[in-house]
Structure formats: structure tokens, C-alpha cells
Symmetry: C2
Subunit: 144 residues, 2 copies
DNA sequence: GCCCAATGGTTGATAGTGTCAACTATATCA
DNA sequence: TGATATAGTTGACACTATCAACCATTGGGC
């Protein structure tokens, strides 16, 4: 069983587990999905729910739920959007920013372990390959 | 956001979606987790639940549930294990084998699309890299 | 300016995916 | 022989994800 798909399932399973263990060890108990959203928000000065959903390839309904919970935890703040009253501008609170830095560091360490056997060039090439494969799969499959 | 982890999450999300779409198009409605188990059984002449759980990095309880459902669908047969009366020998039925061939073909086509921009050598190297990264992460993280 | 379609977000409902724990029966080992 | 390990089952529950319906606002065409 040497298919790419099988290998990827295995890697991601192990990666998620490794991440979870590291977060738990650091006392961070939020689910991975919450931390991914928090991390994405942290990459912006203000972001709309729709933008999060797109960046994370997630359902907008799910984003609503997760951001609401992050708000309730005091990690995310909701501001009026500058030019669209339908939308909120989501930002990290101070607590959220502090946590963002911690999860960034943990993820980087996890990524570093994962790519420890690769050179820097190889690791960069890997990411490029993964992104290329993602785009390749995101194309309409024959009939649009 | 160019981390390996983020890229991998994206790829697997898109890969799963692509697989699901292809299976649905082929009239196959079983969940991906069921199809993965069925596929793993198909790679053996007879296999124990524990072996499936290990190969798929899954919980044995989950394997019990999934194999039971596959049995109920007539895709998997349970035989006594040759030398261990605690264990069953799970095999595909004729229907299961027919489906196994179909999902194999579909997955190969999906993998082919995913790796269309890579040469054969690059695709093989990719799988090797993925497996190496999986092993790298599977090591005890400092304190065993 | 009006009307309709598109968009941003919320909520309901549900299925799929996955983990941990407790239990029973069997196998293994000292 | 008794203690421990193992194979599998079941209970319970959390996480992850999707689809649909709805409401309010925005955008576009006339």
C-alpha cells in the first residue's frame, strides 16, 4: 500500500496527534479546529468570517460557531466592519495574541520535528509540492 | 501562512473532498472511513481487527464498528482465525472484492490527478518524503 | 429609485471521524 | 497455577464537517 493518499492520511493523523500532544503538554486544551481559526485570525489585522472560511476551506456556519466560542473565551474580539455592516471585523484580543504566539511556536517546533530529516531546501520544496498538488486537485474535474 | 502543517491540512481537505466526489459520482456512498477499512482488508488474504487498527492508525473500537457495518452490507466476511480463538479472520466477500477494485481504480485516478504536475520520480520521492516525515513524527518526543 | 440577485452571517440538524474506558474471553509467561 | 497481556466489543462522548434555511445588507440592472 504505497499510494500517495494512504501516505498522506497517515502523515496527517500522526501530525495532528503530535500537535495535540504538544498543545496539551503546554496546557492548551482548545480543539485543533479552534486553534486553527485563532491562528488564521492572528495573521490579519482584522478579518471577516467569510475570509476565514475561505482560507481554512471551512464551512461559514462552522466559522461562526468557532469564532463565537473563541469570543466567549475572550480570545477574539468582534468590531464593526469598516465598510460593510453585514460583516464583523474579527481580531485577536491581548489574550488571544499571547496564545497565538504560543501556538505559533508549538506548531513551528512540531513542523521542525516533522521535517528534521529534510534540508531547508527540501522542506521548502515539499511545501511547494503540497501546494501544487492542492491546486491540481482543486481544478474542476473535467465537466465544470 | 506557509507552514508545512497548514499546507498539509489544505491538501488533505481537498483530497478527501475530491475522493468523496469521485466515489459519489460512481454511486459509492459509503463513508471514507469505511472505504479505507475495506481497502485495507482487500490488501490481505485474511486479517485481524488489530492489524487493521494498526495499519490505519485507528482505534480498535472503531474498527469493530466499521467492520461490523461492512459485514452487514455483505462486503466483509468473518471467519475463525486459524490459531487464535479470540480473533476473527476478516476477508472481503465477492461483492467486497468487486467494490475493492472499483475504489482502487477511483483512488488511483484521484492520486494521478493530484500528482499530474509531478514526474513519476517526483511522485515516488514525494511518497517517500511523506513516509519519512510520518516516521520522524512518530518518534517519542524527547522523554519517552 | 426599485426590484431582484448576490452576499455575509446565523442557526438547525445531522453525519462522519475519532478517542478513552470498561469489560469479557483467550493467550502467554513466570 | 495465577498473573499479566492481548483481541475484540461496547458505552459514552467530543471533535470535525456538511448542507439547508433564514434574515439583513449590498450590488447591479433597468
Amino acid at each position: 500500500m504505497s499510494s500517495a493518499g494512504h501516505a498522506l492520511f497517515g502523515l496527517l493523523h500522526v501530525y495532528k496527534r503530535a500537535l495535540r500532544e504538544r498543545y496539551l503538554k503546554a496546557g492548551i486544551t482548545l480543539p485543533l479546529s479552534h486553534l486553527r481559526v485563532l491562528r488564521e485570525i492572528g495573521g490579519h489585522q482584522g478579518v471577516m468570517a467569510r475570509e476565514l472560511a475561505e482560507a481554512l476551506l471551512q464551512d461559514k456556519g462552522l466559522i461562526t460557531r468557532v469564532t463565537r466560542e473563541l469570543e466567549r473565551e475572550g480570545l477574539v474580539e468582534r468590531h464593526p466592519h469598516p465598510s460593510d455592516s453585514r460583516a464583523a471585523h474579527l481580531r485577536l484580543s491581548n489574550d488571544g495574541r499571547a496564545l497565538h504566539e504560543r501556538i505559533n511556536a508549538i506548531e513551528q517546533a512540531c513542523d521542525a520535528q516533522m521535517t528534521a530529516a529534510l534540508s531547508d531546501d527540501q522542506a521548502s520544496a515539499f511545501i511547494r509540492t503540497v501546494n501544487a498538488m492542492t491546486e491540481q486537485l482543486d481544478r474542476p474535474q473535467e465537466s465544470p
